[in-house]
């Protein structure tokens, strides 16, 4: 195979679960099979997280407001997401990936890059591995995955999307041009709506057309990004597969039925999310170093603010305080606003939390432990922070 001598030939897979949330629901509820299943915020202002292929035939797709989906597909089965269940299945799927190679870079709960360059002796050539992974995923989880195979990440990801669902596509230097040239330029990684509009105005619609455009003209269109797009169009991408933990962050967020205007309300919501996130950390025997808040205003502007703590924590109070500080700083910066969404997430995990010799007995950590035990026994709603009492969740 022709390849630049400086870059050793790599074998990269991109594995993408098909309509993951919806497929898990169908798997757990066989009577749903074949129906248009839509998972997402099911309230007035929710957004679709996943749509089964039957639902997609109605034009429903993820990130679409649920209200719009309901108009397109009034007879669909609308389900609220069960993140814990999806995470459980995701762990099974990722452990299959790890059976083949340690170089697994998770992109989200349901997709990952795998570098199998060093595994051919053990598991065979790239297509054998691609097929074996699909087979294992189906055998162990009952779900289908689409697998893209190529010699770099960009092409592998592109390939996995070409014959979804249940796809298995390989891009080689031999079929590279035939595969890429007819595809729209928006398939190039990083080329967004605005750049696409500019390209279209210049008469460039496909990757082939972009490649036929002189470098100077591309630079006039895309500026500094021109070189990047050209590389991708030529099928070049040097990014390495960086192994990562399965879960990079744990978060909880909520879209409100009505925009929230009062800072006291915001902080109450943060407390609820901080409590949920901290509880999940403790359940996973993890503590986290970085706290992030996500803020979306009524006009859909989205902001994230993050801060790293000196010591990793899984305390509700510590995460809540940090989240409040971040939100207050945002408030000072932006002034009053109506918030459509608020969320708290944590990242930078450390396993096990180191105890402190000089901790004050009866401190926050002991309180959290008691709360966790009560919830374990009597359910999540059995005990709540005093500040949350009397306020029903105003989520969808």
């Amino acid at each position: 195979m022709a390849s630049s001598p400086a870059v050793p030939e790599r074998s990269i897979l991109h594995v993408d679960m098909d309509a993951f949330f919806a497929s898990v629901e169908e798997r757990d509820n066989p009577e749903l099979r074949g129906l248009p299943v839509i998972v997402g915020g099911i309230g007035r202002r929710g957004v679709v997280s996943a749509a089964s292929y039957a639902a997609r035939r109605f034009g429903v797709h993820s990130a679409m407001p649920t209200a719009r989906a309901r108009r397109l597909c009034p007879d669909g089965v609308y389900l609220a997401p069960r993140m814990q269940r999806y995470q459980e299945i995701s762990r099974q799927v990722f452990s299959i990936f790890h059976d083949f190679t340690p170089l697994v870079e998770g992109l989200s709960i349901d997709e990952a890059f795998l570098d199998v360059s060093g595994c051919h002796q053990l598991h065979g050539d790239i297509e054998t591995i691609g097929r074996a992974i699909k087979k294992e995923v189906r055998a162990r989880t009952g779900l289908t995955a689409s697998v893209g195979m190529a010699y770099n990440k960009f092409l592998a990801k592109l390939a996995s999307d070409l014959e979804k669902p249940d796809g298995l596509v390989r891009i080689t230097p031999a079929n590279l041009r035939a595969t890429l040239d007819p595809l729209p330029v928006t398939r190039l990684w990083g080329l967004g709506k605005r750049s696409a509009e500019r390209a279209h105005q210049a008469g460039i619609h496909t990757i082939g057309e972009l490649l036929a455009t002189p470098v100077g003209a591309l630079e006039a269109l895309f500026g500094r990004q021109a070189e990047h797009y050209r590389c991708l169009a030529e099928g070049r991408d040097q990014r390495a597969v960086v192994p990562s933990r399965e879960e990079k962050s744990i978060g909880s967020e909520q879209t409100f039925a009505h925009d929230l205007r009062r800072p006291q309300e915001w902080e109450r919501v943060l407390l609820a999310h901080a409590d949920k996130v901290a509880g999940r950390l403790r359940a996973a025997s993890l503590s986290a170093r970085t706290v992030q808040v996500k803020i979306r205003t009524g006009d859909f502007s989205t902001y994230t603010r993050r801060h790293s703590l000196a010591v990793a924590t899984c305390e509700t109070a510590a995460i809540y305080q940090q989240a409040c500080e971040l939100l207050r700083a945002w408030h000072r910066e932006h002034g009053d606003a109506g918030l459509r969404l608020l969320g708290v997430s944590v990242a930078g995990f450390e396993a096990l939390e180191q105890g402190d010799l000089f901790a004050v007995p009866g401190g926050e950590r002991e309180l959290d432990a008691v709360v966790d035990r009560i919830r374990e026994q009597f359910g999540a709603g059995a005990i709540r922070r005093g500040r949350l009492l009397g306020h029903r969740d105003r989520s969808d």
Partner: protein, 366 residues
């Protein structure tokens, strides 16, 4: 001033000074060594404003006087000269000239009068111990000191003198080391002071395992150790050290006497699959068995077991494996006592039947 000396005589004191002098200094003169020759006694002084070391050499020929030159450069020059070389150092104006054989170096000097000294106040306490005893004490506890902790008083060692006993305690809040030595005479009052981390480490390096005496002195703000041809002075950390006696668990439910090397090797093997961020080891005690398990983010796992004399209830505790190994290494001996109250309280490590030296390690929450 002029110094005529063999290179060997200067090398050792200069290398002591070199480790006290910080490499990156805000004040230029702090990277210099202060040299003074008076009645054939050469004194070399280095300081970082927190600690000060004076090294003396007797029987040095030349002409009396003082000056300061870059400590690191002078040390490197002496190191690079042939072993039996003679050198002549002469300072005049703002330059110093070093001549040895066919080598010549001209160095800048800074005025000796500008060299900062630690002005020690009146000594309130004085005792003499052997170098080996004191070095051993610092070796046993020094590793547990905090490093650049915001609780600045933990970035040092507590020296607590009660009667004829000198107790040393170091902790970073996660683990604690406590040991003691006997003094030649009993102090009338209790003296306690926090000696900064750098001073403890430098003293540990300078002291030798010998019976030669060290004169120890303490005042409100300083501690001084005089031994051999060295006078080492350090400022003390002004702060309140946590009450270490309060965190020693009062009652333990499990007390195991473990073969030292076997316990160490078991933990060491388990630690191979930990990394800097994930140092946790899960220790499970069950009837007749201690199991150490580690996992890492790459989903690898190590399991190592050793037989123990235990017939209590099954118990699981998590620890930073590095903290346990530090303590076990420092203890040495044939057996280690590993005592626990429960999975949320600190464990105690010590040599069975001894009280003077022990280590506390706080668990990691499972």
């Amino acid at each position: 001033m002029k110094i005529i000396s063999s290179r060997d005589v200067l090398l050792k004191p200069l290398s002591f000074i070199g480790s006290v002098v910080e490499r990156r200094q805000t004040l230029p003169i702090l990277s210099n060594v202060h040299l003074r020759l008076e009645a054939k006694r050469l004194s070399l002084t280095g300081t970082d404003l927190e600690v000060e070391l004076i090294a003396g050499v007797d029987g040095v020929e030349g002409g009396d006087g003082e000056c300061t030159v870059a400590a690191r450069k002078l040390l490197d020059i002496c190191r690079a000269l042939p072993e039996d070389a003679q050198l002549e150092f002469s300072a005049d104006g703002d330059k110093a000239l070093i001549r040895s054989g066919r080598s010549r170096f001209t160095l800048q000097t800074l005025p000796a009068g500008d060299f900062p000294r630690l002005e020690a106040d009146d000594w309130a306490f004085e005792a003499t111990v052997s170098q080996g005893e004191l070095k051993g004490l610092f070796d046993r506890i020094g590793f547990a000191m905090a490093q650049q902790d915001v609780r600045y008083y933990l970035n040092g060692t507590l020296i607590d003198i009660r009667g004829a006993t000198m107790v040393a305690v170091a902790t970073d809040g996660h683990r604690l080391a406590r040991s003691e030595i006997k003094l030649d005479s009993a102090a009338a009052e209790r003296h306690s002071a926090i000696v900064p981390r750098k001073a403890v480490q430098e003293l540990g390096r300078l002291l030798e395992y010998s019976d030669e005496p060290v004169k120890l002195q303490m005042s409100q703000n300083h501690v001084r150790a005089e031994f051999g041809n060295l006078v080492f002075t350090s400022k003390l950390i002004d702060g309140r050290y946590p009450d270490y006696e309060k965190v020693v668990p009062s009652a333990v439910n499990v007390r195991l006497a473990l073969e030292h090397d076997r316990f160490r090797d078991t933990l060491h093997r388990a630690s191979i699959l930990t990394n800097e961020k994930f140092r946790g080891v899960r220790i499970t005690l069950s009837e007749g068995l201690l199991k150490a398990v580690t996992t890492n983010p790459d989903q690898e796992e190590a399991v190592d077991e050793m037989p123990i004399a235990y017939d209590g209830e099954e118990m699981e505790v998590g620890f930073n494996v590095g903290y346990l190994l530090d303590a076990i290494h420092a203890l040495g001996g044939d057996e280690v006592e590993f005592a626990l109250k429960d999975a949320n309280s600190s464990c105690i490590l010590r040599t069975p039947g001894t009280e003077a030296t022990f280590y506390l390690v706080m668990p990691m929450r499972l």
